[in-house]
């Protein structure tokens, strides 16, 4: 079932065309990535979705025109508030929705263990490591219980090792929760590891140049055979991004 449906979405700032007609779909329980070079307008697309910007084209959710409050948004850096304890950062979205802080804390506290943050409820964000901060930010995002997650390069600021650990962790988390998620990234490996489908964007003005299905079983870090298949897909996407003629990889039937 298609939840989010974008058709020919365009956005320009004055004479600068940023999005030149982007169309994409995200199904229920599907993990979809948008992959593109830096400055391609990926974040602009998210701002259109969250209503921070107005653009042209059709944006529908569950068949109806998109109205606010559908998405839980996780920004590029963790955006944790240094003046709130970790648990109060996690409850932020619920509080904005009007929930009492106490109730929100009770709702969020049981999730700390699953997010590897047990015992750090009362810590300040500055006391956490980079990976823990990202997990706290993701916790803050998912507890809002919106229809869909928007993840804007969530691991971009982490060191390579922590990033790899976080990607694997997110994959296991997604397997057990099956969030409907849209991820922005310019990390090809991250996209292939996490996604069911990948939309590859061109450089600005951005349009979808290729749609890649990733039909590999999960978890995708389990065997050497899986890693080889993933590497082949990565190579194909990289060729597209770098403007080389794509090598032939078998096209997989698109999920619907």
């Amino acid at each position: 079932m298609t939840r989010l449906e974008l058709r020919d979405v365009r956005k320009s700032f004055g004479a600068l065309d940023v999005l030149a007609g982007v169309s994409l779909d995200v199904g229920a329980g599907e993990f979809v990535s948008i992959l593109g070079p830096s400055g391609a307008g990926k974040s602009t697309l998210f701002q259109l979705l969250t209503g921070a910007l107005k653009g042209e084209g059709s944006m529908r959710f569950d068949g109806a025109p998109l109205d606010g409050a559908r998405f839980a948004f996780m920004p590029q850096r963790d955006a944790l508030m240094p003046w709130r304890r970790v648990i109060d950062n996690a409850t932020l979205g619920l509080e904005v929705q009007g929930m009492k802080r106490r109730t929100a804390r009770e709702r969020v506290a049981p999730l700390f263990a699953e997010f590897g943050l047990a015992g750090f409820e009362r810590a300040w964000p500055a006391e956490l490591s980079g990976g823990m901060r990202q997990r706290a930010a993701l916790l803050r995002t998912v507890v809002q219980q919106r229809d869909m997650l928007l993840l804007d390069e969530p691991f971009g600021a982490l060191d390579a090792l922590t990033r790899a650990a976080m990607q694997r962790w997110l994959e296991t988390m997604w397997q057990s929760h099956r969030w409907t998620a849209l991820l922005i990234t310019h990390d090809v490996r991250e996209a292939v590891l996490l996604s069911d489908r990948i939309y590859v964007l061109s450089a600005r003005p951005a349009r979808v140049v290729r749609e890649v299905a990733v039909p590999l079983p999960r978890p995708r870090t389990e065997s050497a055979a899986l890693a080889r298949q993933a590497a082949a897909i990565e190579a194909g996407i990289l060729d597209t991004l770098l403007g080389q003629p794509p090598i032939r990889i078998p096209d997989h039937p698109m999920e619907s």
Partner: protein, 335 residues
């Protein structure tokens, strides 16, 4: 030799015995440890140690066992250089006033200032209270006005363009000339003092707050907006807390201006207060009493400064957590 080994002794516990044995030969290291330390060494030594403690959250929270004695020692070592310099200055002054044959009505020795201050403690105290009152009342008004106006300016940028040139102009007014006029207009009561204290402290506080709001991380605002928060909510939840460090930086500076402002106002005309006390002491050729009042006003300023630092610590507990626990490798757990 003992002193040069000393940083290693503290910084590296397992080897400390060996070093103390080596050092014990030429000089009694045990005695030099607590009393005759050279201050810079202490300062250097305490920092790496606290950095190491930060590596473990648990030990940071219960850092008493290692600390007790050395924590007091660290504070002592931090203020020691300043105390020494101050004492040296006083001694030089004392010697110059006594041996230079200078009349006490021109330059009284610090000992005389102190003795006279004690003798006139009742009058000094009586005149200090109104100054404290004027300072706090004026500063409170200034803070309130700065907060309200800064919030308005944050919501209405056009207002900022209208107000800021006026505010900057207000900072160019020479206090010496303005103070008598304000007293002329508003009399000898509390009002002119409040106005003058506000005049010198309002602008720094206003600028601090406005810049503080602007320092809000863009992504925090974006995220709040995506959560459905309105402008008012974003102001309270993000912009105001983001401004706190700026606010306290401004507070520390302007609280020291506030005392000076109050004294200036009293100097221009008042029934009681340190300013008018200084003026009459000067007119009676009592520089010792002028200096005694100056010492009181300095102490008052320092006390208010200390209070501001204390309030900042209480109001921003996360700030210290950030300094101690940053990039803590032991917290990097696997999911």
């Amino acid at each position: 030799m003992a002193v040069s080994f000393d940083p290693l002794r503290r910084g590296d516990a397992p080897t400390s015995d060996r070093f103390s044995e080596e050092g014990a030969g030429p000089s009694p290291i045990g005695e030099s440890q607590d009393n005759s330390q050279s201050p810079p060494l202490r300062g250097v030594r305490s920092d790496p140690r606290s950095g190491r403690e930060a590596n473990c959250l648990a030990s940071r929270r219960t850092n008493a066992p290692q600390g007790g004695r050395s924590a007091v020692g660290t504070v002592f070592a931090k203020i020691l250089p300043a105390a020494l310099a101050f004492a040296l200055l006083l001694i030089a002054w004392e010697l110059y006033a006594r041996l230079g044959g200078i009349a006490p009505t021109v330059l009284p020795a610090p000992s005389r200032v102190l003795a006279q201050a004690w003798e006139n403690r009742a009058a000094l105290g009586e005149n200090t209270l109104p100054t404290i009152g004027a300072t706090l009342a004026g500063f409170a008004c200034s803070l309130l006005a700065a907060f309200v106006l800064s919030a308005l300016v944050d919501f209405l940028p056009a207002l900022r363009r209208a107000l800021f040139p006026l505010l900057i102009a207000s900072q160019t007014l020479p206090l010496v000339a303005i103070a008598p006029l304000v007293v002329l207009w508003f009399g000898f009561g509390l009002t002119p003092k409040i106005l003058l204290v506000a005049l010198v402290t309002f602008f720094p506080m206003m600028v601090a707050l406005v810049e503080g709001y602007a320092s809000t991380e863009r992504e925090i605002s974006q995220m709040l907006a995506a959560m459905g928060a309105g402008r008012w909510r974003i102001f309270w939840a993000a912009r105001l807390p983001s401004a706190l460090p700026y606010f306290f930086a401004g507070l520390r500076i302007s609280i020291t201006y506030a005392v000076v402002g109050a004294i200036f106002a009293e100097y221009a005309g008042a029934a009681k207060g340190l300013g008018i006390y200084m003026l009459s002491a000067k007119n009676n050729f009592r520089p010792d009493l002028v200096l005694a009042a100056v010492a009181v006003s300095s102490a008052l300023t320092l006390a208010l400064f200390g209070l501001a630092v204390l309030v900042q610590r209480l109001a921003m507990p996360w700030e210290r957590a950030g300094r101690d626990g940053k990039s803590d490798p032991s917290n990097e757990g696997r999911p």
